[in-house]
Each structure stands twice: as C-alpha cells, then as structure tokens.
C-alpha cells in the first residue's frame, strides 16, 4: 500500500488506497455518490487528481484493482498485456502521460501501436486528469477501423445504427421505421432491433425480415437482433441469418454473471458467428453495449468508481475484435448520471477510453424522462462526440424510441452531424446511397417528397408485402 496524500494551502488530503484515489479524482456524478465513493468536497477531488498525476503508470500493472484470482476480467487484462507496446510510456507518471497524449509526437500511428500496451485502469486514470477538450482532441487521433459488409471508423466518416424498435415487434412497423431511416442515410453501422420479446423464435422471425430487406435492396450493411448471446448461439444453430452477435457486458466477472455471460460463452458465440462467414469485406462479428452504472447496479463494482470499472468492460470487448461497441450513456438513469452535464462528461470519457484501448466506440446519445436532461444536451454531446471522431451514433424516428421508452437521436440528427462536420457515411454505404439516387449533387440526402421515385418504390414494395 502506498502513501496517497497531497497538501494544498496547509490542508493535507489523504486517501486510503489506489481505488480511493481513482474514485475521488472522478468528475462528480451521482452513481459514485450513491456508492459512497465520491470525493466529499471539490478540493478533495482536485487533491486526488494531484496524487494521481504523480503516480507511475506502471502501478496499475503492480496493483490489480480487483484480485487476479477472483476475477476473470482482471486475468484477461494481465494475461494479454503487451509489455513491448507499453515500453515507450512505461517510465511516465499518469500526469506525464496526459501531457504526452496531447503532444504532437503522439500521432495516430503511435497511439495505435500503444493500445495493446495499455490497461483499462491506466486509461481511466489518465482520463480523470483530462478536460473535455482533451478527451476530444486525443480520441480524434485514435483511428480504429473495423469491417464486415462495410468499413466503420475511417477518419472523416460518421456511421449510425438505425434502431427501428417496435413495442410488439410488428414486422410492418419495424420495416416502416427502417425505410424511414434509410431515407436519411442512417444504418451504415448496423440496422439493429431491440426485441420486445426476447426468445429464439421471435429472433428468427425478425432476422429473417431484416435479412430479406437488406438482400432485396442490396444494402452494404449488417443487421442484428439484440438478443442475449445464448439465444444468438441457438439462432445460429437453427440456421438464422446472424450477421453480428450482440451482448451487454461490464467490467467485472460478477457483473458479467449478472448479464448471464462469461468470457468463454462470448468466445463460443464469436466462433459460431464466424463459422457463418457472412461478412464480405471483413469478419468483425461482435457488437457490445456498455454503460457506466451497470456494475454498481449489479453490486459487482468491487469498490471501484463507475468510470474505472466501465473502462474494464472495453478490455473485455477488445478481446473479441468487435465491429461495434457503444456506451448507452444516458440510459441507465439519474441515480448514476444525474443531469446533462454528467451525461456529456461520461459520454466523452467512455469514447476516449475505448478508443485509446483500440475499441471501435460509438454512443447511444440518450436520456430518460427522469434525468435532468433534454434534446439540447443531446445536441451538445453528439456534436462533441462527432468532433472527437465517434465511430457511430444511434438514431431512431424522431428521437423517440417507442419500445424502450427513452429518447435517443433522431434520423435528422445524422444529417445535421454529417453536414456540420462534412462527415460522410461508410464508403460502401455511400456508394449505395448514390446508386439508389438518394443523394443530391452536393452530397446531401434528398428530401423525399411524396412523389419521390425511391420513396414510392420502397414504400410501394412494403405496402404490397403487408
């Protein structure tokens, strides 16, 4: 145990252990207060940051925050650590690492080579010393490119998940929301449904419809029904059209057990999806969701603050070469992230930490009706995340998810972000949009009037099919 203390203007602030330093250095958020881990004053918070800045980065290789013997996520982190990749920064303190990340020397190639040498705890630690602009500036330099039927994560591109959820999984209703999103150029990350009824039979039905739609219009994208990984394995065995296997994950073995998963079952699911060979230009077949507060809500946080244990989930994700990962940042509720300010900070942290670890991070920019947040906060977060080079964001019709009863981004927001940042869809998807005559000469999505030929064709097909 080290001696963790810092003095400022005659006052000495002491911290019991490394866990306490990390927790108290975190920007204020309701989940850490709920867990009794947060700094008790603003001054104590800054003192914790000062202690953290002087700690050597390699302390996180010497002191596991969750015991190696008791947690398979810790074992994964330590057993797969690449010491050679870590060497260039192994002499640094956390504070020096922050300054180095922002230096011109730390360019995209350097950061990509470093990623296997970093552990989640190092990344979480340095993020606590970074302002929002630092999180954006460094994340923007981290390029993480993944492929399946198209290419997600290229610089200058912004992809989106089209999320056509329906409260009773009505196929026609889902198709209508899907067509709507395609007319906004959404869906290049994935067309992904959260099923209202989560069983194998229903997944087969939904996947069949999505695959038929994708095949009929030859859309260069991937589809997914976000069912539990064990269901996905059964669906694959039953001959279902599984492009991507989805699973919610968290940063400790116990929290993952709460989700009904282990590292071995995730490997089994990845192998099953790979065996289908459905990817055309790549085989990144996994899709993970994470979110601060998940571990605490399962009482599986091991005394860690919610941001540090969240970052450990990215170590789980990167072991399976995912195509997509996203934090559901505002979904978990105000007891974890109380208001727009906390949601925005957490969204930027999650994105930065994942990207620095080499994980293709996207975000469900979202909130619930009992959080102190609204669409203005979402405008801010999605704009900042796009500036930071987020791999993808989630969009639903009119920002209103009528199945999960929360607010995400609207299809319109994808147009706004692509316009303001001159960000384009995934290249293969962009070609498809042009081929479908959905883009005008300035590269903007055409406004589909009722007489629009594409709209008439898409809707006509579905009216007839219904």
């Amino acid at each position: 145990m080290g001696n963790y203390a810092h003095s400022f203007r005659g006052e000495t602030y002491r911290f019991a252990d490394l866990q306490a330093v990390l927790a108290r250095a975190s920007a204020r958020r309701s989940g850490d207060e709920l867990a009794g881990l947060a700094a008790s004053s603003d001054a104590e918070r800054v003192a914790a940051r000062a202690v953290l800045a002087d700690l050597p980065l390699k302390i996180f290789l010497e002191e596991p925050l969750i015991p190696y013997e008791e947690d398979e996520v810790t074992r994964l982190i330590f057993d797969t650590h690449d010491a050679a990749a870590f060497a260039p920064v192994s002499h640094m303190t956390v504070g020096q690492f922050r300054d180095w990340l922002l230096s011109y020397e730390a360019d995209s190639a350097t950061l990509a080579a470093l990623a296997p040498g970093l552990t989640p705890e190092m990344v979480a630690a340095v993020s606590k010393l970074m302002r929002n602009q630092d999180l954006i500036a460094v994340a923007r330099k981290c390029v993480v490119v993944k492929t399946f039927r198209n290419t997600v994560g290229l610089p200058g591109r912004l992809s989106s998940r089209l999320q056509p959820n329906h409260p009773t999984d009505d196929l026609k209703g889902i198709a209508a929301s899907t067509l709507d999103g395609l007319l906004y150029g959404s869906g290049d990350a994935v067309i992904g449904i959260n099923p209202a009824t989560d069983n194998v039979q229903n997944c087969l039905r939904l996947l069949g419809m999505l695959d038929e739609l994708r095949s009929r219009y030859e859309i260069p994208t991937q589809t997914c029904v976000l069912t539990h990984v064990t269901n996905a394995i059964e669906v694959i065995q039953a001959g279902g059209a599984v492009d991507l296997v989805f699973q919610s994950i968290a940063g400790s073995q116990k929290a993952n057990e709460g989700f009904g998963v282990s590292l071995s079952i995730l490997r089994e699911a990845q192998d099953a999806a790979l065996s289908l060979k459905r990817g055309t230009i790549g085989n990144d077949v996994m899709y993970f969701e994470t979110g601060q507060g998940a571990a605490l809500s399962a009482d599986a946080h091991w005394g860690l603050d919610q941001q540090t244990i969240e970052t450990r989930a990215y170590a789980v994700a990167r072991a399976y070469q995912p195509l997509l990962v996203n934090t559901v940042v505002g979904f978990i509720g105000p007891e974890y992230l109380y208001d727009g300010k906390q949601i925005i900070r957490a969204g930027l942290e999650d994105h930065f930490c994942a990207k620095l670890l080499g994980v293709p991070m996207g975000c469900d920019v979202c909130y619930t009706n009992h959080a102190e947040a609204d669409q203005d906060d979402m405008d801010t977060l999605m704009t900042l995340l796009t500036a930071a080079g987020v791999s993808f964001v989630i969009a639903v019709p009119g920002a209103d998810d009528v199945m999960l009863n929360y607010q995400s981004l609207a299809y319109h927001d994808i147009l706004y972000l692509r316009s303001v940042f001159n960000a384009r869809p995934a290249p293969e998807f962009e070609v498809w949009l042009e081929k479908m005559d959905m883009v005008d000469r300035a590269g903007r999505m055409k406004l589909p009037t009722p007489s629009n030929a594409v709209l008439q064709r898409l809707i006509g097909d579905h009216r007839d099919a219904a």
């Binding site: 709920l34 026609k172 067509l179 009992h370 019709p397 920002a399 319109h412 006509g460």
Partner: protein, 247 residues
C-alpha cells in the same frame, strides 16, 4: 390535388415518429414542438406531487406515510432511500390480522396515481370480498420496495403497491401494480408479480387489471408465494389478463 402522403398506410403499423418532414437537415417546427410538449408532460409527471387531500377524500381511512428520501431530487439520486420507510412513519401504521394492504405510491409519476389509482382501488375492492384488507396507505417519494416495510410493519400477508411508472413520451400516466407475499425488507424483485401499463389511452383497463390482481392475490394466499412460481401458474388465466402478465 396534392399527392397522397405515402406514410399514412405505414403509420397504422407503428406509433414511431416516421415520415416527418425536414427543414433543411432539421425537424419541422411543429414536430419539434410536439416532441417538446410530450417531454414536458413526462417531466411534469415525474416532478408532480400527489394531491393528498383529494386522495384521502376518495379513500376513507387512508394513512399517509413517506420514505426516507427528502424531496424529489434526493429521491431520484438515491433509490435506496425511496425503498425505506421514514422512521417516524412506522408508528402510524396499525398492526392487524390482515390478508392484504393496498399501498398507493407516487413512484415516478404522480400523474399516473392521480388519474388511475382510485378507480383501480375501487375495481380491486369489488373483487376482494372475504379478504381482510388493511386501511389504504398513501406513500410519497416511494419506490416499489417501500411496500415491504409497510406490509411488514402492519403484519399483512400480502402487499399490493400501486405505483406511477416511469413516464414515456407517448404515455406519462401509466400505473403499475406489484404484489408481494410475506413482504419484508430485503425481498428480491423476482419474488413479486407485476401488472404493468394500466392507463386509459389503450393500456390495460381497470377491470382487467383488477381481475388479474384478484386472481394473483387469491392464488398467492393459497400457494404461499409470489414471483416466478406464481407467474408460471398464470396459464390458468384467460385472454387479456394472461397476455398482460406475460409481457
């Protein structure tokens, strides 16, 4: 003749906000305001207070209690406090040989309680002849598990807590009922049965919800349990009740 809106047919299949217009890249002003209105009503439901005088007038003999959460902000930040009865409230609760106590709780939508709780209680009482029912309890800053403290303090075999559900943009006044056998502090949520989505905008009707509740209460007393075990037995129920319980 303007061309027919091709989205009309598809809107019959979903209440998602499909086929909206555009102002450049953005939503049209009427759609922005429609969304803001729905969000405002939902937020107002979260922050509204129960009209205790009106509820007490409608529920003779009702007793008002509150959780350890002081005010709505603390309630939202600290779910643990909303699950515990404030110490000074225990002595207000009469102890007796009760089969059941009905708790009316604000939860995340006081609006849902003001719109639906009284008719729901009346519909339930009509179907609970022969039950020894405790005086109704009105609870504020309350989470579902607050019913455990209340039921335990009163010695009731069953606690049915009627609670405002988290508002959505479409429905902000949906009521849920959670039934717990042998309520006591620390009961797991898997040991409860839930009847959700009770409201008057296409949700579950009071009569159907009350049929379900009465069936669940009789079976819970007969079998001495609530939760997963009782849910599996609900195959005996018919029609809408069965469907609602399955969802």
């Amino acid at each position: 003749m303007p061309p027919e809106d091709p989205w009309e047919a598809l809107r019959l299949a979903t209440r998602a906000r499909i086929g909206l217009g555009r102002a450049g890249d953005a939503m049209k002003v009427e759609d922005v305001l429609d969304f803001q209105f729905a969000h405002a009503v939902a937020r107002d439901a979260v922050h509204a207070k129960l009209d205790l005088a009106r509820l007490k007038a409608a529920l003779p003999g009702a007793i008002c209690v509150h959780s350890e959460a002081e005010g709505r902000e603390q309630y939202l930040r600290r779910p643990d406090l909303g699950r515990r009865l404030a110490p000074e409230c225990f002595e207000q609760l009469p102890r007796g040989e009760y089969d059941a106590v009905l708790v009316i709780a604000d939860g995340l939508s006081a609006t849902a309680v003001m719109h639906n709780a009284v008719p729901m209680v009346e519909a339930a009482m009509e179907r609970l002849g022969g039950f020894r029912i405790a005086p109704p309890i009105i609870a504020t800053q309350a989470r579902v598990a607050l019913g455990d403290d209340i039921g335990e303090a009163m010695g009731a075999k069953l606690c049915a807590i009627l609670v405002g559900e988290r508002p959505g943009l479409t429905v902000s006044d949906s009521l849920g009922v959670y039934l717990t056998y042998n309520p006591k502090r620390g009961t797991q949520d898997s040991a409860r049965n839930c009847i959700s989505n009770i409201h008057t905008h296409g949700g579950l009707s009071y009569a159907t919800a009350a049929d379900m509740l009465a069936w669940l209460m009789r079976e819970a007393l007969r079998r001495g349990l609530t939760g997963v075990g009782l849910k599996e037995a609900s195959g005996l129920l018919g029609g809408a009740a069965q469907a609602a319980l399955a969802g």
